[in-house]
Symmetry: C2
Subunit: 372 residues, 2 copies
């Protein structure tokens, strides 16, 4: 055969191969028709946050924007602040009933419906933000959370994380564990249960009443989130000490809950977009909280002369022991609570050794890096 | 007005409001036609990792899967391991030239093309993983990274984060800074420059040769990633001590780079899906690394009896001082290096005070929580 023919034959071989490749590529693209959205979905999301609430509320807005943009308009989620359609704590009822498609809040808001939900938010002396996200994805958390939310007729997603919280604002100095005796404190969730066990009186107050309550002396102390959110509420104007660490909520996730029937009716591509957006919104909120807390803490210290204090080691030690007692007892109340609590504690315990590395790095940076 | 009429009037008001709302919702759905993908995009992604490489390589696979599923088949990315189409370190050339649409690796692999790229990976005594992600999103990092990658004809995305790395495997004990004199160590990137300045000899060895190099005594020490990846390579078989913290790489991001012309030619919905998937893949890799490191570290300690040791404080102090000197000098080499370095250091310095909270929490949990 001459060169020409050889070239021609090679060319034919090449074309044959290319066609085979294209067919294979095309085959991998064959996705069942019903799994791709055809019609448009206009959904509502009710939240437990005031409209445009920094950090927490913006996680819901970020999530909705991501879904809307990625779906190229096939899904359009409109976010409503607390009270715009339903009051904050009726968000779950609205979604459970199917009146509204989806909601955004925090798992412990639903402990009145399913006790076990509160453990999903945060556990005193529990997981760091990244460990918490990891527990949901790789430690069995998603499955347990879906089991809990199914009881409320919903599908569950992690959709935001506050990051490490601060220990709270105090007008009374904490020098020993006995200083909690008679302390009136706004402290929600499981951390509040530990404070009660230490002799404190726990008061539940809405975000909007925090400043006036501590100003009037109705409470001696309060816990909200961290510098970024606390600064916005002006709490520094009425409280003397800002304590750390946030042992009661070392991280707290936010939830996106979707009416289960509506969820099941979605085509696959929109399901994937929702799941992905919840994950990316969690990452974005973490990014926002770190940058926001950096700036806010500096403002609190430099401009408002706030006294930042660590809890004494002896107090932290006793709170850790007390937490274990309180949570062991509380979580024995029902099978699901016990299951979620044990699973988190197992992941926490497996994390302590590994996190020595991170602890030592932060210590080193704090002690030996010149930064001013 | 009677109650009935009042109700009727209210109902009319409600309907009017609802209609107005629906019209607004519909209006927000008007998206320019060209911004929604019509045709199908079959893209290739070349990587610097062996096919199915745990953690690092799986970030690329995760990312591609997310894009493929969310786009409902409109985009189909096929991931190739190192050497399948081009060798690992020719990935950037393949993408820059437009021969391949996208790639996945680590920014410091491209320092031979743009010196400033290496600062994007990690900085000794720099940012924690979450701070690093936050710097890219909220601290100006994305903009600087795009400026750097534009010089290589690419669009840049963070697509993965190793989490905090360990300090490395040593066959020689490090008791004082002078112990680095003459130490032959595999230590890439900026951390390697600091080790050189401390008197060490830095050797560059591919992942596949790590074990044999330390077994033969060709090197005295090496740094790879952390327990999850190091266990898989069997390094514990030949090295005595496993040091922490990973001061040289407190976190390291991975990059997704896309040929700029191809990127610009994409419709808006696919651009959003890519951007979102890179963010969610970063979160998912972090989740995987935490869970994987938990288990691997326990295996190393309990099964393989590995000695985990912190570097002495005096050594860390001197390494921190040395790092500052070395990096200040290195980053003065060109305008872009100086710009990226200064920006990261500014964010790091603003983070130290805020991270006291996290440091104290990890200390407390380590000291006072019973976990065995």
């Amino acid at each position: 055969m001459g060169n020409f023919l050889k070239r021609k034959k090679n060319r034919r071989k090449f074309l044959k191969k290319t066609v085979a490749l294209s067919t294979a590529a095309a085959a991998s693209l064959i996705i069942p028709k019903k799994s791709i959205a055809k019609k448009k979905y206009n959904w509502k999301m009710v939240t437990t946050w005031p409209k445009n609430f920094p950090g927490l509320g913006s996680a819901a807005e970020t999530f909705a924007k991501m879904v809307n943009e990625c779906s190229g308009g096939k899904m359009n989620i409109t976010v409503f602040g607390a009270g715009e359609i339903v009051p904050a704590f009726e968000a779950m009822d609205a979604v459970s009933s199917g009146a509204i498609e989806m909601g955004h809040g925090g798992p412990y808001y639903w402990k009145g419906k399913v006790t076990a939900a509160q453990y999903l938010s945060a556990i005193p002396f529990g997981l760091t933000p990244q460990e918490q996200n990891s527990w949901f994805e790789k430690g069995g958390g998603q499955k347990i959370a879906d089991e809990i939310y199914k009881k409320m007729g919903c599908k569950f997603f992690v959709c935001g994380n506050t990051g490490p919280q601060m220990g709270g604002w105090y007008n009374k100095e904490i020098k020993k564990i006995e200083d909690y005796q008679g302390l009136k404190m706004r402290a929600p969730g499981l951390g509040g249960e530990v404070i009660k066990a230490a002799g404190g009186t726990v008061v539940n107050i809405h975000g909007g009443e925090l400043l006036t309550s501590i100003q009037s002396g109705a409470i001696d102390a309060l816990e909200w989130v961290g510098p970024y959110n606390d600064l916005a509420f002006g709490i520094y104007k009425a409280a003397k000490y800002y304590y750390y660490p946030g042992w009661h909520e070392p991280a707290a996730i936010l939830d996106c809950f979707i009416n289960l029937k509506k969820w099941n009716s979605l085509p696959e591509d929109l399901k994937k977009i929702i799941s992905l957006s919840a994950k990316a919104a969690t990452q974005q909120m973490t990014n926002e909280m770190i940058a926001g807390n950096n700036v806010a803490l500096e403002t609190l210290v430099k401009k408002h002369k706030v006294k930042i204090k660590p809890f004494p080691d002896e107090v932290l030690k006793k709170l850790a022991i007390l937490s274990e007692k309180v949570l062991n007892k509380l979580s024995s109340s029902d099978v699901l609570s016990k299951k979620v609590y044990k699973s988190i504690i197992k992941f926490r315990n497996a994390s302590i050794k590994r996190s020595e590395n991170q602890k030592k790095f932060l210590e080193t940076r704090y002690k030996y890096v010149k930064y001013k």
